[in-house]
């Protein structure tokens, strides 16, 4: 249907989806660690708000629980944990030189186009009001992966990983109004455990190779000397 014919709430949902995509781009371009964590937290907040709005518009109360879970986990708990880790590891003042930021951003834009292309068959089948946002959710997933690829610091890669999970959550919300509660809880639990384990990992990495630069993890190679 025409965009102008959608209700104001539906338009707001799509607008928030666009801003979520924008936060993904901000994360791609952001070289400093603490603002990166903040951008990720904002993405979580926006996702929670979008989910709550979808819950209100489509009358799906279980989505309120999902929104609350996402807010608690991705917008509060995990950024807090990451921030605490960054301070304890003394990397919160580090800057990561992003090589070719403009090229990365353009690569991100082409990924958005690619996700649109991938999502076309799904969008055509869906009758949901949020179906246009499916392409956005795929784009958030792919941008999270791009973030992981273009960064060398372990903490940035973890944020990229969590951003992928954000995109997956969003995909579930906009294509099927969320997954069954038991699955959502399971996924949230997995993400939480993964975040805790990443934290433990940073300390192990710091102890063994004395840096958190993933490029230094290069002893296991195929071509042995």
């Amino acid at each position: 249907m025409e965009f102008t014919q959608l209700s104001l709430y539906d338009q707001a949902i799509l607008l928030l989806a666009a801003i979520v995509l924008f936060t993904s781009f901000i994360m791609l371009a952001q070289p400093r660690i603490v603002p990166l964590i903040h951008a990720f937290a904002w993405q979580g907040v926006l996702l929670a708000v979008t989910t709550a709005l979808v819950a209100y518009v489509t009358n799906n109360p279980h989505l309120y629980i999902s929104a609350g879970l996402n807010l608690a986990l991705k917008a509060l708990l995990i950024p807090w944990m990451l921030h605490r880790l960054a301070v304890r590891l003394n990397i919160h003042r580090d800057m990561e030189v992003v090589k070719y930021p403009s090229l990365t951003l353009l690569a991100g834009a082409s990924l958005v186009v690619f996700s649109y292309y991938v999502a076309i068959p799904i969008v055509q089948l869906s009758a949901l009001v949020t179906r246009n946002a499916i392409a956005i959710s795929i784009a958030v997933i792919l941008l999270g992966m791009l973030l992981m690829i273009t960064r060398k610091k372990a903490i940035s890669q973890v944020i990229g990983f969590m951003s992928i999970e954000n995109g997956l959550f969003f995909a579930a919300v906009v294509s099927t109004f969320g997954m069954p509660m038991v699955v959502e809880l399971g996924v949230a639990f997995d993400v939480l455990v993964a975040a805790v384990l990443f934290g433990v990992f940073f300390f192990q990495m710091r102890e063994s190779i004395d840096s958190l630069d993933v490029d230094r993890l290069n002893r296991l190679r195929e071509v042995d000397e």
Binding site: L125, M148, F161, G186, V187, S208, R219, L220
Partner: protein, 488 residues
């Protein structure tokens, strides 16, 4: 029904117990006891399913049919034998490498945690919970891979975590798409992820969405199976962790990941007219098979070499499941069993071999047969078994796969045979000096319990000569379920 709940509750209980007493000397024994009880329950469950047919729990969360019941039993069995091996092995490791109490508690509780995740993945009816359990298995073992805290171990664990994590995120997206397609045909929302409901309604699922979903699921679960080019984590994770870890990762996790993939393929085949899913699996499987066989030759670490052998065999199994006919499926199911048994036995032996030589480097391990004959013979026979020599079971399953290939894709038998030959050459090139070379000065035998290895290899030999009736009935039922017709 109690059997099914017990299968899950025992490892769960084990996690809690081990978190408290995992560092004590009895922890190893407790581990063995828990695994033995799990195995007994799994055999009981197998008998129930053999007699009564598929079991569906009241809440419809758990579903046991012919395909997963024997995998449940296999998992419990390999868990038991590895636990038996792990007790003296880890004691030796604690003494030589000075692993602290906290880490031993972690090791034992996560061992049970891993078993729980495996059994949960195998017995669940909910495709979403299957994903949660697979990710849970990764999370349980990631800290165990880095147990030794060397830079290599940390690197291996990081690669494992990140690659498997990102890979399995793709699988979650595939699950979301599957849910999207399923919601339109399932009676209620909560039913839409239940496998038995979906299998019944498979022909109504939207083909385009299912194709997209399968691609993501193949990439996701394929990463955990170790398909090339998503395999990079596998050699590192299997070689840097403690040997019991390598045994259960190679023997069990790869199997369960392939099980997840085949379950989804069953749904996709019901929906799609073409054999797209099968072709994709064949392509990736063949690629993994060939690439791994070539990489085998370059390896300098014995565990890395055998992990490439695992990749190769998983590639072969994926290829066979991809072909899809009854003979190929029967062969693949048999191969899952024998590979799991043989590979875990090999890793146990390799663990002892590296303890004897003090290193995992192939060129430093020599003369095992002179130092400790049981280990030397175990390694030799294990390699012979995994390379596909008759009369071992691996030969039978590989033969079945070759026959199936010759029937439907005759010109593909050439790369298969070439790959088998390359892998065979690679394995023996490295094994021969290890077993028969001159032992270096001062090499002493270690305290080793080779009984589980002999039992497992004996079982593989038995399967190679004559598959026992109950097993063949199982395989036949599973084959009918997966491919739609019987091989016999």
């Amino acid at each position: 029904m109690t059997a099914v709940w017990l299968i899950l509750l025992i490892p769960l209980f084990g996690i809690g117990v081990m978190a408290l007493i995992g560092h004590t000397r009895v922890a190893g024994w407790v581990n063995v006891v828990l695994s033995a009880v799990s195995f007994a329950v799994s055999v009981w469950l197998a008998l129930i399913v053999y007699a009564d047919g598929p079991l569906l729990s009241v809440s419809r969360m758990l579903y046991i049919d012919a395909f997963n019941v024997y995998l449940v039993t296999l998992t419990a069995f390999v868990g038991l034998t590895t636990a038996i091996f792990s007790r003296p092995y880890m004691q030796h490791e604690v003494e030589t490498r000075q692993i602290g109490k906290g880490r031993m508690r972690l090791y034992h509780s996560m061992y049970q945690g891993f078993m729980f995740a495996m059994q949960a993945a195998l017995t669940t009816n909910n495709v979403g919970i299957l994903w949660v359990a697979m990710e849970g298995a990764t999370l349980a073992t990631v800290l165990l891979v880095s147990l030794y805290r060397t830079p290599e171990a940390v690197e291996a664990a990081w690669k494992y975590f990140v690659l498997c994590g990102v890979g399995i995120a793709q699988a979650l997206f595939g699950t979301v798409l599957l849910f999207f397609a399923a919601e339109r045909v399932a009676p209620t929302r909560d039913d839409a992820l239940l496998w038995n409901v979906l299998y019944g309604a498979a022909s109504q699922l939207e083909p385009t969405v299912l194709t997209l979903s399968f691609v993501f699921l193949l990439v996701g679960y394929g990463t955990k199976v170790g398909l090339v080019p998503l395999h990079n984590w596998l050699p590192d994770a299997h070689s840097e962790g403690p040997t019991p870890m390598s045994a259960i990762l190679s023997g069990l996790l790869l199997n369960v990941a392939l099980y997840a993939l085949v379950r989804v393929k069953m749904l996709v085949d019901g929906s799609l007219e073409s054999n797209l899913a099968g072709h994709l699996m064949m392509g990736f499987g063949l690629l993994s098979f060939m690439v791994a066989g070539l990489f085998l030759h370059r390896q300098r670490d014995i565990k890395r070499m055998f992990s490439y052998s695992s990749i190769e065999h998983m590639g072969l199994m994926t290829f066979a499941f991809g072909i899809g006919g009854p003979i190929a499926t029967f062969g693949a199911l048999l191969h899952m069993t024998v590979h799991s048994l043989t590979k875990s036995a090999i890793f146990v032996t390799v663990g002892h071999a590296s303890q004897i030589a003090g290193t995992q480097a192939i060129e430093k391990i020599r003369g095992l047969i002179r130092t400790q004959p049981t280990v030397g013979w175990g390694l030799l026979i294990g390699t012979v078994a995994i390379a596909g020599f008759p009369p071992f079971g691996v030969f039978v399953s590989e033969f079945l796969v070759l026959v199936a290939t010759m029937k439907s894709w005759p010109w593909l038998t050439v790369p298969l045979l070439v790959g088998l030959a390359i892998a065979f050459a690679g394995l023996f090139r490295h094994i021969h000096p290890m077993v028969y070379g001159d032992p270096p000065e001062g090499q002493v035998p270690v305290r080793a319990n080779m009984l589980p290895v002999m039992i497992q290899l004996g079982f593989v030999l038995w399967l190679g000569i004559a598959v026992p009736v109950f097993l063949s009935k199982w395989f036949e039922q599973a084959t009918v379920l997966i491919s739609g017709s019987s091989p016999l």
